[in-house]
Amino acid sequence: MIHDFTYLKPGTVKEAVAMLSDHVDECKIICGGQSLLIVMRQGLIATDYLIDIKGLKELDYIKYDDKEGLKIGATTTHKSIEKSALLKEKYPVLPIMEERLASLQTRNWGTIGGNLAHADAAGDPAPVLIALDAKIKVGSKAGERVFELGEFYTDLFETAMNHEEMVLEVQVPPMAPKTACAYKKFNLLQNDMGVVGVAVKITVDASGTCTDARVILGNAGVTPVRAKSAEQILVGKKLDEAVLVKAGEAAADDADPVSDIHASEEFRRHLIKVLTKRMARQAWEQAVKLG
């Protein structure tokens, strides 16, 4: 049973942050609500005020320029990202990730800002966006702040935002030359939450040597995990089988996964090892082919 709440519908971001500051600790923001309504019905969240930002058109955009990179507004739906011709060209990993994010119905209504703010460790967008060195812009009545997305998550379902702030925008820098990113999650049904997910971004030089790497693990800890020791193994090398295997093993060591009904800790580490190897190879092969 959902706790009774007073429904507020701001017409602008300015109105939304004013409402937030009026009801700080007794309100929640809803956008698509594809995660929030479930936990509200389970009684895990009981809020006295609900601020509905789904209709804020000013945050519904996907913009790109070569200098500043990509900007996606918080109320942009997963569907818009999945179908964006611009993203398919500039950041193909994002539409590929979205294709397997939950069901078609959820992608039609759910939003990127809501997904990132919900801070579910098994969420798909966060690991990929962190691998792309994304930033997240949040706003309150006091002004705006920008976080590295990799530093945004503090604990399970917890972010570095204070209670007067809301997510406004995701920012992704332009892709460096000869750089590619790959993401895969392991699950039993294709569009379930990942038992684990791995995003790897690889940059190579003209000789095919890896000059920069990001390895980000999803559902491998209470927040997305950056597998720095795996990255260190990849950088400076050509990614042959031996290097890839070592990187996979290092990523499995960097992870801190739980045991639950879906998989044991041991099985999750095994999956991380395999997926890291495969995604690093895939990103490396794509990057080598790029001009």
């Binding site: 309504l37 479930i38 019905r41 509905d52 069901s103 078609l104 039609n108 209504w109 569009n191």
Partner: protein
């Protein structure tokens, strides 16, 4: 809590509702408007039995607040037919026997209608991917996929609405 007045345009008819804002779209459609073709299944965004179209987009009505659809055009399975004439997708489900117990059927019809509005000629793989969010425990899905393929192939064109 303050009750709110909203207007939902369901199957081309306006309904003015005076509701608790926590009312879910599926509750508004079934309990307030009385259209029970839309089913309540899992209520955790898993089974898809409550799928309806908001505009041209299929959504799960158990995970959308009715408030968020104020003024919007909603189509339920009852809205597919036109003056007693079945829509192509409904005819195709009949012809392929794409249901047994029938509980998932209205959700399946709405999800696949949404797919066909966006992509009139989906591949078999695209049909399968589109209904991933709809669970059917009877058919094994093959007859449902075949039904959508029949419509995509234009087999009901001469009688389409």
């Amino acid at each position: 809590m303050e009750k709110k007045i909203i207007t939902l345009r369901v199957n081309k008819q306006d309904y003015e509702l005076y509701i608790n804002p926590k009312t879910l779209l599926v509750e508004a459609i079934r309990d307030y408007i009385g259209l029970t073709g839309t089913k309540r299944g899992c209520e955790t965004v898993s089974c898809g039995a409550c799928s309806v179209l908001v505009g041209d987009l299929a959504v799960k009505a158990c995970s959308v607040l009715a408030m968020q659809c104020d003024g919007m055009e909603i189509t339920t399975s009852e809205g597919l037919e036109d003056n007693g004439k079945l829509a192509p997708i409904q005819k195709a489900f009949l012809d392929e026997g794409a249901y047994q117990c029938g509980f998932c059927t209205s959700g399946m019809l709405m999800t696949t209608s949404g797919l066909l509005k966006e992509n009139a000629n989906p591949t078999k793989q695209e049909v399968k991917e589109a209904i991933e969010g709809n669970i059917c425990r009877c058919t094994g899905y093959n007859s449902i996929v075949r039904a959508v393929e029949r419509v995509a192939k234009g087999m009901y064109k001469e009688e389409s609405l």
